[in-house]
Symmetry: C2
Subunit: 383 residues, 2 copies
């Protein structure tokens, strides 16, 4: 029986994790949950999974939830204290970190320090604090299992293979909504245009990041930390069908890759049941129905998210946190109509230009770099 805590339980990763936990209730027990402000959904989750305790983002939401679930045995706590309590829940053996943003870093650290296996969907944990997190995991003998389709595919393609024979990682990308567009066309796209992703059902922010290839840049950084591979040895390949979720090329030229229908529940379940697999009774990949998979090089002149990410990854230290924070601000400005799509790149670039890298940062340095980057990015007002 796997016992899990889910951080970000009302979000996209959290709800899909609980979907699987509900299907496989004889193999998974949910011990605690943490969410932000969605009291209504948290109430449903408490009634469904009866966790010993849950945490809400603030005291108001916690109070509301307490009123609603007075008839249950679940305790409700709140804020960062509550979040950290869920992340180090003595009853669980795995923490699913589905929370979005820099707020995910401290609970990830708490989970690792408590010796929990970390099923990690939160990007910021590795992008901004990769050196701290991987070192801590090593020291505590804790395994980090990736929870997204690309990194899960790479993880699966490395299983049973000798790491020293790895030549490069092939990280696939759908290419996003604007694949094939030139700079001129991109300068005119609207928020509405941007919020369609052909293959994956995702939140707004990540849909924009997918279109700008910033998301793929963040994934390069994550893969670099997760698999101890230099960013230069990670090749991004555009694969519009999102069937080959990623692959690894070995020294003999063999490429081992993992394929499947695009469904986030696959990588989530892989982490939950690792090293076993669940029995999935819904639709599975049929190559002959699919018909074809296509591949192309990313247009890095137009979609500068990738080269900017590479620049941040190679600079290292605090720079990836700056890249990520500046992007968040830029996307927020784009969504509010305060910046055009291509401005996202200029805003990131500006924030990176004005940042002085701290090579071996501690957590405070990272949060400070993040804050400065947001300030710098939000000061942008066109050229």
């Amino acid at each position: 029986m796997r016992k899990i805590s889910v951080i970000g339980s009302t979000g996209s990763i959290g709800t899909q994790t609980l979907d699987i936990a509900g299907r496989e209730s004889d193999r998974i027990k949910v011990t605690s949950l943490a969410a932000g402000s969605n009291v209504k959904l948290m109430e449903e989750q408490v009634r469904r999974f009866s966790p010993a305790f849950v945490s809400m983002g603030n005291e108001d939401a916690a109070k509301d939830l307490r009123d609603r679930i007075r008839d249950t045995d679940t305790t409700v706590c709140a804020g960062e204290d509550g979040l950290l309590r869920v992340a180090s829940d003595p009853e669980c053996d795995m923490v699913v970190a589905g929370i979005v943003g820099m707020i995910g870093i401290r609970p990830a650290i708490a989970a690792i320090e408590s010796g929990k296996t970390l099923a990690l969907a939160n990007k910021e944990t590795l992008v901004a604090a990769g050196s701290i997190i991987t070192e801590l995991a090593r020291k505590n003998g804790v395994r980090i299992l990736p929870v997204d389709s690309e990194h899960s595919a790479i993880f699966q393609s490395l299983e049973g293979q000798s790491r020293k024979n790895v030549e490069k990682i092939i990280l696939t990308a759908s290419g996003g909504t604007f694949r094939g567009m030139d700079r001129d066309a991109l300068s005119k796209v609207t928020v509405k245009d941007a919020l369609k992703n052909p293959n994956w059902v995702m939140g707004q922010k990540v849909t924009i990041d997918s279109a700008s290839l910033v998301n793929k840049g963040l994934e390069v950084m994550e893969a670099s930390w997760l698999f101890d591979v230099a960013p230069e040895d990670i090749e991004v390949v555009i694969h519009p069908q999102s069937i080959l979720h990623s692959a690894v090329m070995y020294s003999d030229g063999a490429v081992i890759g993992q394929m499947g229908l695009p469904d986030m529940r696959m990588p989530i379940s892989y982490a939950l049941f690792y090293p076993e697999r669940m029995n999935w009774n819904e639709a599975k990949l049929d190559l002959t129905t699919l018909g074809s998979m296509t591949f192309e090089k990313p247009d890095t002149d137009v979609f500068r998210g990738l080269p900017l990410a590479m620049r941040a990854a190679v600079a290292g230290g605090t720079m990836p946190a700056v890249f990520n924070a500046a992007n968040e601000e830029a996307v927020s400005m784009f969504l509010k109509g305060k910046a055009g799509f291509l401005d996202i790149y200029d805003i990131i670039s500006m924030a990176m230009d004005s940042h002085r890298v701290i090579a071996e940062p501690d957590l405070d340095d990272i949060f400070e770099a993040e804050r400065e980057a947001r300030e710098c990015a939000s000061s942008w007002s066109g050229k």
Copy 2:
């Protein structure tokens, strides 16, 4: 240092094995070789690799070779005795079985009984004598490493994975020269038409078998024995580019597959260096240059090689040997202009119809079934 004996050293698998051994002479030592009648090439191989002894198919060839290599320290023997001596060479730890035909079965047994790792390219060993061979390998604790691209791909896609999670094997096929043709068109094809394979450089026999899908049927039988999977759980998918060499679908819907450029030296080197990999310095797969991979269902109404093979596999016992022997005769008749392309299927079918299966055959039963099938097939004279 891996020490290898190569059976069939002057054939396609043998020469490519020695190509790799020559490139990696600090990791591979060639201890003995066996070939049929190609004395000239064997002389070159002796001078290049200085094996302690070699064997030729018959005494005349052996005598000729002895004359040519009088100045070397290599001993020459001949016939089946020589072949078995090479297969059980006390100096080697791996036997590469690249010999073609039923003649490959006894040396495979000799290798297994001597405790050698068997790098197996000879199809007949598993197709005709799968139950005997796999049982013997199990008893002797000997590993059989597949030496062809499809089975090597499956093997690689199973590494590090739990066997009980395997749902099915996806065996890819180029579809051969006649892919897409209907029965009418196929009834008119010539030998010359048949002897073109778009992706793989192969011998005549196997090129025809590839076009008829009989080859893929034989591979289904081999895969079934190698990976202990029922023939019904092996799906053949036509993939004209021959890049995805085969794959495995797991219970959670994940499909792990191995890709690469079509080059037999890849699976050969994988067996030679297993569990490590060689450093290959020539062209490697570039997905973006490739552009696309396509997949379709095989047309089993027209290309009856597959359903006939499935029938033989399910019947089991001596039937696969009959299927294989009848096909060999039929292809030989086709190559001599004595039968049309579609007649190959009728000849196989006729031989299978007239065979009474022995369910748990010994080696003699298998050779007898083979002999009868050849006799029956060669009696064919159209309808």
